[in-house]
């Protein structure tokens, strides 16, 4: 009984905070999704209109699926690019490991906004890429390369996320018992076979965690499209932001947010088959 009381005292405050400022707001958002308008009498109306509108508007859905597709694709590429990096650091870097790791992490301490913005300085019409190409005589007219398009958004986001994706993959590679690899070699595996059948499967939880590190923020992303994506590169997150900040149609924005939440939870459910979430986070 004593234990129970201490446990409840300790866990009480954080639980109340999360309940009031995390669970309740999400619940309120669900309530809002059934309302006719943001203010006045329209507030008190219960309606399915927003859902009907959402499901009839194919452009909303297309943007949602396309954003989910972009996030998925971007997160996969980030994992593929981060894996060799994590592998190198975990197995080949030796005593310089900590230092080399730090070098990868330091750039992430620059302001997130400016890391994104800096790609405008590279891709823009008077940016680095154009200047270099012009100096080399490869082009004579400066023109924005990639900028204001979906590929620009993808390139920029990969840049932002590779270091973060690398971390959990590195952690899972570090945890692998090196004797397992020796055993595999003793049993006649080549190095490549040992990688495929021992190292890679054991590092999969880290890869899944890394995937989510990149996938989830990207799905909700609205800053990068605004900065480097232009009109062509806007994503589902921009749609939600618009509903709340400009169109002021909060009920519709709530429906859109819930739709995004469903996709996130679906992805979580599918991919946590690899291992429970708390394991992936190392808790």
């Amino acid at each position: 009984m004593k234990h129970r009381q201490r446990f409840l005292t300790l866990i009480g405050l954080p639980s109340i905070y999360l309940l009031l400022l995390f669970i309740v707001p999400l619940g309120l958002m669900a309530v809002f999704s059934f309302r006719a308008g943001t203010t006045g009498a329209a507030r008190d109306v219960f309606t399915f209109d927003n859902y009907i509108k959402f499901f009839h508007n194919t452009s909303f859905q297309r943007l949602l699926w396309r954003s989910a597709g972009i996030s998925f694709f971007m997160a996969i590429i980030s994992c593929v690019l981060a894996y060799p990096l994590a592998y190198y650091l975990a197995f080949k870097a030796g005593s310089k490991k900590t230092f080399l790791m730090l070098l990868i992490i330091i750039p992430t301490w620059t302001s997130y906004l400016l890391r994104i913005f800096s790609w405008k300085l590279i891709l823009g019409s008077s940016g680095l890429l154009n200047s270099v190409l012009q100096a080399l005589g490869l082009i004579d007219q400066p023109s924005p390369i990639l900028l204001y398009s979906r590929p620009a958004v993808v390139v920029t986001l990969i840049y932002v996320w590779v270091p973060f994706v690398m971390l959990p993959i590195f952690a899972s590679l570090e945890r692998i018992d090196r004797y397992l690899l020796e055993a595999a070699a003793d049993l006649g595996c080549t190095r490549f076979e040992a990688f495929l059948r021992v190292t890679f499967p054991l590092s999969l939880p880290g890869v899944v965690a890394g995937f989510f590190f990149a996938f989830i923020p990207t799905l909700g992303e609205f800053v990068t499209p605004l900065l480097v994506g232009g009109a062509q590169g806007s994503m589902y997150g921009n749609l939600i932001q618009d509903q709340f900040m400009r169109a002021l149609n909060w009920p519709m924005g709530s429906v859109m947010s819930l739709a995004m939440l469903v996709i996130v939870l679906l992805m979580m459910f599918l991919l946590t088959r690899v291992g429970p979430l708390t394991d992936l986070l190392g808790l």
């Binding site: 234990h3 446990f7 300790l10 866990i11 954080p14 639980s15 905070y17 999360l18 400022l21 995390f22 309740v24 707001p25 999400l26 309120l28 958002m29 809002f32 060799p84 990096l85 190198y88 080949k92 080399l100 730090l102 990868i104 301490w109 620059t110 302001s111 997130y112 906004l113 400016l114 800096s118 300085l121 590279i122 008077s126 940016g127 680095l128 154009n130 200047s131 840049y159 590779v162 989830i216 923020p217 799905l219 909700g220 992303e221 609205f222 800053v223 997150g237 939600i240 932001q241 709340f244 900040m245 909060w250 709530s254 995004m260 996130v264 979430l277 708390t278 986070l281 190392g282 808790l283």
Partner: protein, 265 residues
Amino acid sequence: MRRLNLPSFGAFYYLLVCVILYLPIALLIIFSFNDAASLTFPLKGFTLRWYEQVTQSSELLFALRNSVLIALGSALVATILGGMGAIAIVRYNLPGRGAFLAVSAMPLVIPYVILGVSLLILLNQVGIPLSAPAAGLGHVIISIPYALLIISSRLVGFPNNLEEAAMDLGASYWEALGRVTIPIISPALLASFLLCFTISFDEFSIASFLVGTDATLPVYMYSQLRFPTRLPIVIALAAIIMTVTMAVMIFSEWLRRSGQNTSRK
């Protein structure tokens, strides 16, 4: 058996990634010293005037003050809440533990835009005006998972028999926590505080919905990105902040490591 070309390929790849990671940042730093308001090539000349103007822009300094205050506040609250939660989940395996873990880790898997708009709805319903501290409320939510992670990994590192010893010697449970447990986990508490500070300090998405006219630094920076002539000042400030952040993060990483080493002994 060791093939010689493999390590060199890894090293080459590492180097390539490093160059790509640092290139955009190097560009920013170069432009912060460039004597021209537009961020375009070719470069003009060396100047320190953007750094001088950082100290003269009152809007910018106000946003910086806002950001520092809410980062301090949200990091403090997240570390206290995370610390309490961490002690509870590491020391006790009672009903409610699993549910608490699941809920407290959830902010990691929910896009910030959703957290931002849901808090916007809450504040609107309760009638709390938008402000920088309102953004701080949201920053605590996203910081709690990290605080829990850092503090609980430190707690796992030392067994609870020290607490029991203190209680055998006549301390109450809460005295034992205050005089034994908290001093032992203090490096983790500080590391958590510093990490949560940087999370809040750099956060834009949630803040953009909640600050109203009370801009935090990222929100202010975003508004300035549309006025090209103001950009060099913003970039100069970012260069200063990056230097400070680097010092803080290296210090916190050192704390975390030194904490882990002593717990292994």
